[in-house]
């Protein structure tokens, strides 16, 4: 009995070995080409995943990842039990929902640009509107901080010039939300229209002509032909945006954050940075990060599932 099993095992092992050999030998040139990329991905993307275990351990630098003691879900409980969890969840949702509410802005901008008569002017508007997309978050946030500074910023100087009282926008939680979301709209307004404009370029011309013959106005054409034409694209992009409802742009938040607006600007990923890399609480930070990442994947999959059921449009 035992003997046959080993025989079977060696048989399978041999077969597997042969198969691996075949996989490698048949395409050895390809594999050699891929080695650098695979190794780089492994070292910089997969090795860190191995480090996730410190979320379940009491990580001590001296003991290392392997040597530290397991503590189970201690850090998850700790984190979920703190009042800051609720605050962060609320802040994240507030920013995301605000952003999602402004989702149609890009669609409307695209429909408008598409209606421009002069091709030349269209090109000019498009080119200008793409520009902010290429600016780094540091530049954008730098401009925000300089323009809205209380003492010497342009906006407050204008308010003062008009006889108003200076407002400290950078320390206000409410102002933070507006600054964050609206600067995002400003930055990606043009860039977000590209896909829609590309789709609108394929609107079937015979439909448009038929509508014109039937006496449709331009507005009616836009409403009944252009809008339905870009709707599937818009829905797909909306799913993607809605799926990311719990992952807000932490880089920008980090750059606009200060102790005074923390009540509105603290989100999971900025907390991860503060607690982990500034505070040195590696295990807690990793636990929050993992929690955030897993919840994000669940939400993305969930949103995709629901929209697939409801409208037949899906990401995968």
């Amino acid at each position: 009995m035992n003997g046959t099993r080993t025989a079977v095992n060696t048989g399978t092992r041999k077969r597997i070995a042969r198969r691996i050999k075949r996989i490698l030998m048949d395409n050895w040139q390809l594999w050699i080409l891929m080695i650098p990329a695979v190794v780089a991905t492994f070292i910089f993307n997969y090795v860190p995943m191995y480090g996730i275990q410190i979320a379940f351990k009491n990580y001590k630098i001296k003991k290392g990842i392997m040597g530290s003691a397991w503590v189970g879900l201690k850090y998850f409980r700790l984190f979920l039990g703190t009042p800051s969890f609720g605050v962060m969840l609320r802040n994240t949702l507030a920013l995301s929902v605000f952003q999602l509410a402004l989702f149609p802005v890009n669609v409307i901008a695209a429909l408008m640009i598409n209606e421009l008569r002069s091709e030349k002017y269209k090109k000019v508007v498009q080119m200008i509107s793409y520009a902010p997309h290429f600016m780094s978050v540091v530049v954008i946030c730098g401009m925000i901080r300089l323009f809205f500074a209380k003492d010497n910023g342009i906006v407050n100087n204008l308010i003062a010039m008009l006889g108003g009282r200076r407002v400290d926008y950078l320390s206000s939680g409410t102002a933070f939300r507006y600054l964050y979301v609206l600067s995002g709209v400003w930055q990606d307004l043009g860039w977000g229209t590209i896909i829609y404009l590309a789709t609108l370029a394929n609107v079937p011309q015979d439909q448009v002509e038929a509508a014109i013959i039937d006496g449709a106005s331009r507005l009616q054409i836009v409403r009944h032909i252009n809008v339905p034409h870009i709707l599937p694209t818009a829905i797909t992009l909306f799913i993607m945006a809605a799926g990311k409802v719990l992952s807000v742009g932490y880089e920008k938040i980090l750059l606009l954050q200060n102790n005074l607006n923390l009540g509105a600007s603290q989100v999971f990923s900025t907390y991860v940075y503060q607690v982990g890399l500034q505070g040195g609480e590696y295990s807690l930070s990793t636990a929050v990060d993992l929690f955030n990442c897993v919840v994000n994947i669940i939400v993305l999959t969930g949103v995709n599932f629901i929209t697939k059921r409801a409208s037949g449009v899906s990401l995968w």
Partner: protein
């Protein structure tokens, strides 16, 4: 005849709606340009002029002393140099990794391809997170080494997919004939595939270029020495760190007795950071647009 007439009126008459559209989009364009323009204007204003009227469209006596101060102090030049080093190391690396990987993935099938594809795609949705990544870099001994930033930004998965999709559209007969002529995979890639993929390579290298120019987060995590800061991180310091500004002001006072206009200096730093991208992007935007539309077809 009748239809032609209808079409004509629809297509050529400049209606009230056209006027409104024109107006709205012009306002929009101005809203987008305004912050950039104002930054440039404030950076060449004197404090005196700025306090009198911050909304000058054309400054009466443009003054470049803010730039002079920044450049004399030297941090920004050093940061420029660091960013250029990151680009010089990172661009060839990223393009090499992207091209080889995309070529392999573009193959219709070979044993192990699916596994490889999943292996790469997983990195788009799941990663170790900030602290494990930091510990990994530390373990590798790359803290305070430029390679930490260069290597950890090596592969952009999305860009690999763009290149892969493009290569898949190339006629496979070309590869077959090259293979019959005895070319190996590396030769096919460099002699056949890459020359035919120039448009997408241009697009992807521009995306990488902008990403690397704008990179700051990894640098903040992995580089603790100010001497290694790239441009974006230096700008962050100039804007948010009062001490850095004091330092600049002090250097300035050694050269001149004029009071330093900190708003002007900060704006000048913003302008210096965004200027290179601003200058090149109008000429390159068609490549970027192509990248987005290509990505949306399959991605």
């Amino acid at each position: 005849m009748a239809t032609k007439h209808v079409k004509k009126t629809h297509n050529q008459r400049f209606t009230v709606m056209d006027a409104i559209l024109f107006l709205l989009l012009t306002v929009l364009a101005f809203t987008i340009v305004f912050p950039f323009y104002t930054s440039i204007i404030v950076s060449i204003m004197t404090e005196h002029d700025y306090l009198r009227n911050p909304f000058t469209l054309i400054p009466r006596n443009p003054d470049f002393s803010s730039y002079e101060t920044l450049i004399k102090q030297g941090n920004i030049i050093r940061a420029y140099k660091n960013t250029l080093i990151h680009l010089a190391l990172g661009m060839p690396l990223s393009m090499f990794l992207t091209c080889t990987l995309a070529y392999a993935l573009s193959k219709r099938s070979f044993p192990g391809k699916k596994l490889l594809f999943v292996f790469i795609m997983i990195t788009m949705v799941f990663g170790g997170g900030t602290v494990p990544a930091f510990l990994n870099i530390k373990e590798l001994g790359l803290i305070n080494s430029r390679w930490s930033v260069v290597l950890s930004n090596g592969i952009g998965t999305f860009y690999v997919i763009l290149v892969m999709n493009y290569i898949q559209t190339l006629p496979s007969s070309l590869f077959d004939s090259a293979r019959i002529d005895g070319a190996n995979e590396f030769t096919i890639l460099t002699r056949v595939v890459l020359p035919l993929s120039k448009p997408i390579l241009a697009t992807v290298s521009l995306f990488y270029l902008v990403d690397k120019w704008n990179e700051w987060y990894g640098s903040m995590l992995y580089l603790n020495k100010a001497a290694l800061y790239p441009l974006q991180l230096e700008l962050k310091q100039i804007i948010s760190n009062a001490q850095i500004l004091d330092d600049i002001v002090m250097t300035n006072s050694m050269y001149r007795s004029m009071p330093t206009f900190s708003m002007g200096i900060k704006m000048a730093a913003v302008v210096l950071t965004m200027l290179p991208i601003m200058c090149v992007f109008p000429f390159l935007q068609k490549y970027f647009v192509k990248g987005v539309t290509l990505g949306s077809v399959k991605g």
